[in-house]
């Protein structure tokens, strides 16, 4: 079910995720009429809106229309014009020169876009931002370019970030850094959910699965604001229809369907690089929890993260030396980890409440028919 819209206010807006803005010379601002139409649509559909800003100073009448609907603003830090309901985007040196903007007012959520080649200073960048955000969303811009060497750099930098954030936690400053802390507190997949929880509207008035699909090919839209939006094969956006992801407990992973499509040609299949990065982060989270959990007294409230001997679930899924039963046992154990301390009777009660049919099916597969003649 769609909960919110992402509205690209101008073609040349700040990218907030792993895509790049194509043809930056186009400075196409959304029309006021279209903006009104989108806001009206969002109100009627009870959707909130994330507005993506660029460098253009919007006319006051635009801001008035934006103010009519529940929203968040996402804007480049270098062109910051608002503080309330705003997520700031830091993308490169230029934006980093404006970090002082974050010092005024309440702490905001911040998106930090980093490329593979910037990772050597990743830990230092996070350190420089401490005290200036309450949540830091780290976005790696060029996942598909990662090599073994870059994985090693990232692994080391995550270790540094773990130490930095750990210090903050010990001081009682419970900040969030998505690639480190999200996995600690999640018990289920919490992905981007493009196309299933949110859709994007571009300045041309067309819907897209997310901004990345607009910048990839704006002719390939899902329909216009006045049309019935249709996503063909929409099931492929759902976790249940992603054979690698549904067996994975890197629950913080973006599971970016655009990146999947770009690298593997299938919306539901992550690249090797995507899986390894998510598992390096998962391992950093595991170690972070191990080190900090006792110090801050959360070990009895959050499940431990099991140590894995692989970085890519695909390797397990396709490993012929692992029997289907072994594989099933491994993934079932992994995915049910947060439930394992629950008493069986309580678990069965919850299954009954969620889906009584499931109890019938469980009995069918687990309970043998009593044979009165078989007295053995």
């Amino acid at each position: 079910m769609i909960d919110y819209l992402i509205v690209i206010l101008e073609h040349n807006c700040a990218p907030f995720c792993c895509y790049d803005v194509k043809d930056r010379s186009r400075n196409e601002l959304i029309s006021l009429d279209l903006l009104k139409k989108i806001v009206n649509y969002a109100i009627r559909e009870r959707l909130s809106v994330n507005f993506l800003y660029g460098s253009t100073q919007l006319p006051p009448e635009y801001e008035m229309v934006i103010g009519e609907v529940g929203h968040m603003k996402m804007m480049p830090l270098g062109h910051a014009r608002s503080y309330e309901n705003t997520v700031f985007i830091i993308d490169g040196e230029e934006d980093l020169r404006h970090v002082h903007v974050l010092d005024g007012g309440d702490l905001n959520n911040v998106i930090l876009r980093v490329g593979r080649d910037d990772l050597v200073s990743f830990g230092a960048t996070v350190k420089s931002l401490i005290g200036r955000f309450k949540r830091l969303n780290v976005i790696i811009k060029d996942v598909h370019r990662f090599t073994e060497e870059a994985f090693s750099v990232y692994e080391r930098q995550l270790e540094d970030v773990g130490a930095i954030v750990g210090e903050e936690y010990r001081k009682g400053n419970f900040i969030e850094v998505n690639v480190l802390t999200d996995r600690v507190f999640l018990t289920n997949m919490n992905n981007c959910n493009a196309g299933t929880r949110h859709l994007t509207v571009a300045p041309n008035g067309k819907f897209y699965i997310c901004p990345a699909f607009y910048y990839k090919n704006e002719d390939n839209s899902l329909g216009g604001i006045d049309d019935r939006v249709e996503i063909k094969n929409a099931r492929l956006l759902e976790l249940e229809y992603a054979p690698i992801c549904r067996n994975c407990d890197a629950w913080h992973c973006k599971r970016c369907v655009w990146l999947n499509d770009a690298v593997t040609s299938e919306l539901n299949t992550p690249s090797h690089q995507q899986c390894v990065l998510a598992h390096l982060e998962r391992e950093a989270s595991r170690r972070f929890l191990e080190r900090v959990g006792t110090d801050i007294g959360i070990n009895d409230r959050v499940p431990t993260i099991p140590k894995l001997d692989y970085l890519d679930p695909f390797d397990v899924i396709t490993n012929r030396s692992v029997s289907p039963e072994e594989r099933e046992r491994h993934f079932a154990q992994l995915l049910s980890k947060p439930l394992e301390d629950l008493p069986v009777k309580e678990l069965l009660r919850q299954i009954y409440r969620t889906d009584p049919k499931m109890l019938t099916r469980l009995k069918e597969v687990s309970c043998a028919v009593v044979d009165l003649e078989d007295r053995e």
Partner: protein, 382 residues
């Protein structure tokens, strides 16, 4: 006395060997109506350089190709149109395996699927004499002259039955335990029974037969298929042909609820190389096989395999690509699909949408199959 029921010939190193398919030409003498190779042409032929680079890559990367055995498969179009190139390729493979001390030297096959027209030619026969023990050759013949010539025709429309059948005795003499592959479309359904019996009559004991995956089936076709197969079942049983003949329409394992979540098709586990040196998950994904979609290469002989492009194929399972009706189907086993056809027919660029055009045909086959085994088991005991 309890009689034996014949089994189809075992597939050499099945599910152990890697299959690498060389599409040596996109040309064929025939223009079979049901053929999925929609872009046949006389322009595109593989060069030896493309073949050599591919072999170098495949034999030189054991981490990517760890299989104990390999089937070097040659198709087209019609592969025997390029027998000289094939001969050169096979010589190169053998010398390469020998010089590298590669384990495949002792565990490889050269496999061919041919329309049989050139089978008796001197060049092909020389090749067979030279590589005999390493060869596996399947000749395609569709049945009676009427059924065969209905679809397997030259560009002029003339049927090819006579040009194929004259080479069948030689083929069976050289490869006695062979099977032929029969394809059935809508309009030749009424000829199935006689065609299978005809093929048995000319000495082919094992017949691999399937209906096409395409959207060609008309109302009532399932009833014709069922009636044909029941008639065939009666003849096979009454004439005790089951003791040394097989027909893949009848199998004890089909028509049950599914017990696993495996993909039916092996696309991605095999590798096809087209004339340009592009790699594909199977030959059904090459450009001249696709009607509606762009061909999705998974690498090429110059840069190797892009393993990210193979991930969707290797992680594909039944449930993810099938509609609920297929997942819960009580006669699911044996229902086939072709990943390339699925991709070509899908609403979007995906291999994760199963085409189900043959649903009714499968169910008809299952009913006839149930009849066959019910009769046979009653006769000889299960």
């Amino acid at each position: 006395m309890k009689k034996n029921i014949a089994k189809p010939p075992a597939i050499w190193q099945e599910s152990i060997a890697k299959t690498v398919t060389f599409v040596v030409t996109e040309d064929c003498q025939l223009r079979c109506h049901y053929c999925y190779l929609v872009g046949k042409n006389s322009r595109n032929k593989m060069s030896f350089d493309v073949a050599r680079r591919s072999i170098d890559y495949i034999t030189g990367n054991r981490d990517v190709f760890p299989e104990k055995s390999i089937i070097w498969d040659f198709i087209g179009g019609e592969p025997f149109l390029e027998i000289e190139l094939i001969d050169e390729i096979c010589d190169y493979i053998k010398s390469k395996l020998r010089s590298e001390g590669h384990p495949w030297l002792e565990s490889h096959r050269f496999s061919f699927t041919t329309n049989g027209i050139l089978y008796g030619s001197e060049k092909v026969q020389n090749f067979i004499r030279k590589n005999g023990p390493d060869l596996s050759i399947g000749v395609t013949i569709d049945g009676t002259p009427q059924k065969h010539d209905m679809h397997r025709v030259y560009p002029s429309g003339k049927g090819s039955y006579n040009d194929t059948v004259r080479n069948i005795p030689l083929w069976l003499d050289q490869f006695p335990v062979s099977s032929t592959k029969v394809t059935v479309a809508s309009d030749d359904l009424p000829y199935i029974r006689e065609s299978v019996l005809h093929l048995y009559g000319i000495g082919i004991k094992h017949i691999s037969i399937n209906v096409v995956f395409e959207d060609v089936w008309k109302e009532g076709d399932d009833a014709i298929l069922e009636e044909q197969l029941v008639g065939l079942a009666d003849r096979i049983i009454d004439e005790e042909l089951y003791t040394d003949h097989t027909c893949s329409f009848f199998s004890e394992t089909i028509g049950r609820p599914r017990t696993d979540n495996n993909n039916w098709c092996g696309a991605g586990k095999m590798l096809a190389i087209d004339c340009r040196g592009d790699f594909y998950p199977c030959h059904r994904f090459t450009p001249f096989s696709l009607v509606n979609r762009k061909a999705p290469p998974v690498g090429n002989c110059f840069e190797g395999i892009d393993r990210n492009k193979l991930r969707p194929f290797l992680s594909l399972d039944l449930v993810t690509q099938s509609p609920r009706e297929c997942i819960d189907c009580k006669v699911a086993t044996g229902c086939a699909w072709c990943q390339g056809a699925n991709y070509d027919f899908a609403e979007t660029d995906t291999i994760y949408q199963r085409a189900t055009y043959l649903c009714k045909m499968h169910k008809a086959r299952v009913r006839a199959n149930n009849y066959y085994w019910h009769r046979l088991n009653a006769l000889i005991g299960s």
